[in-house]
Amino acid sequence: MVLGRPYSKLIKTLMYGALSVTLLTLVVTVLNTELGTIIIKLCLLFFIFIPPISITYLVFKSFIRKDHTMLIFLITILVIIVSNILTNIHLIVQHLLK
């Protein structure tokens, strides 16, 4: 199953997106430190979410290609990652509002 190229493109798009916004935010920080810090915090959070997003993509692809073995493995990983995010969701909100 050839998954590498589309997976690579997805991560590349997400990474370049996050890095570009972060660079722009550094300019904003010079003008308004508080606003800049909040946006950078959001960028970092988005950065952490890139692997779960990419795994969701792989789950979707495996489902379409009916690769059930890989689908089970990926869903298990996704459940672990998502449960960790949900456990910390109130802390994430607190941290962003701080």
């Binding site: 050839v2 590498g4 997976y7 990474m15 950078i40 970092l44 950065f47 493995f73 960790n84 994430i92």
Partner: protein, 255 residues
């Protein structure tokens, strides 16, 4: 400002080496952040985790574009690795740390020896694939447990497991290891992020440095001969093994 540039430079260098050898680079990054940049350990781990996520994602972009990542084996081994890490961190309190370190350094030294002796062209027979998969799943569980117990990244053991037990070519093992590391590191990074240990500006410097370093490192690794990669990885394993034995004897290199 100077600290951010220093961090950028360190992250670039470590990202290059880590992406080329299929490790996260956290165990290399943390000492630098503590002793060179002057961060305390928890803040250093937090910044290093962002660097590891960036390294692994950047390397995965390069490796998966060349179809070197084995997603099926990677996702299977990752499950065992995560479960092992949870079990390991829970039983760490009842096991003697020195004994663990000695065991871990022995495994690393043995892996280095086997990697140097291994013939890359030797492929697995069909009937031995199932056995190898079981063995490598157990190996991943053990690697995860040891990382959980000793608080180190499991990347340094993932590549030898995939090469020696699963019979994957070294480049595929390195690429798959980076894919696995991106998942583990992002989960750990979130934990440090929500507890407020992350300095956003230091994290950004580390992310940019690692991204550039890992792009270069992984591109170089793709073009490097497998034998040279095996020698480099073996050297790294021996360094880790020696450092661990020395710390058991009370000699702390970084201090």
């Amino acid at each position: 400002m100077i600290t951010a540039f220093l961090l950028f430079a360190i992250a670039t260098c470590i990202g290059m080496v880590s992406a080329a050898l299929g490790i996260g680079g956290g165990s290399l990054m943390v000492p630098f952040l503590v002793f060179l940049v002057g961060l305390d350990v928890k803040h250093a781990i937090a910044v290093s985790l962002f660097s590891v996520v960036s390294t692994s994602l950047s390397a995965t972009i390069v490796y998966s574009r060349r179809e070197l990542v084995n997603f099926k084996y990677g996702s299977l081994l990752e499950i065992f690795s995560v479960v092992g890490a949870i079990v390991g961190s829970n039983i760490a309190i009842i096991v003697d740390e020195r004994l663990l370190k000695i065991a871990f350094s022995m495994i690393l030294a043995y892996s280095a020896y086997r990697l140097l002796r291994k013939n890359e062209n030797k492929t697995l027979l069909k009937n031995s694939v199932k056995r190898s998969l079981t063995l490598s799943s157990l190996g991943s569980f053990a690697a995860g447990s040891l990382s959980g117990m000793l608080g180190i990244g499991g990347g340094v053991l993932k590549v030898p497991i995939m090469v020696l037990l699963l019979g994957l070519p070294i480049k595929v093992a390195i690429a798959t290891s980076e894919f696995m590391i991106s998942l583990t590191a992002s989960t750990a990074a979130l934990t440090y992020y929500v507890r407020g240990y992350v300095n956003p500006y230091f994290a950004v410097a580390a992310i940019f440095g690692s991204f550039i370093g890992a792009s270069v490192g992984s591109t170089v690794a793709v073009k490097t001969k497998p034998k040279i990669l095996r020698i480099m990885l073996s050297a790294l394993l021996i360094i880790f093994s020696t450092t661990m034995i020395l710390s058991c004897l009370g000699v702390e290199i970084w201090s």
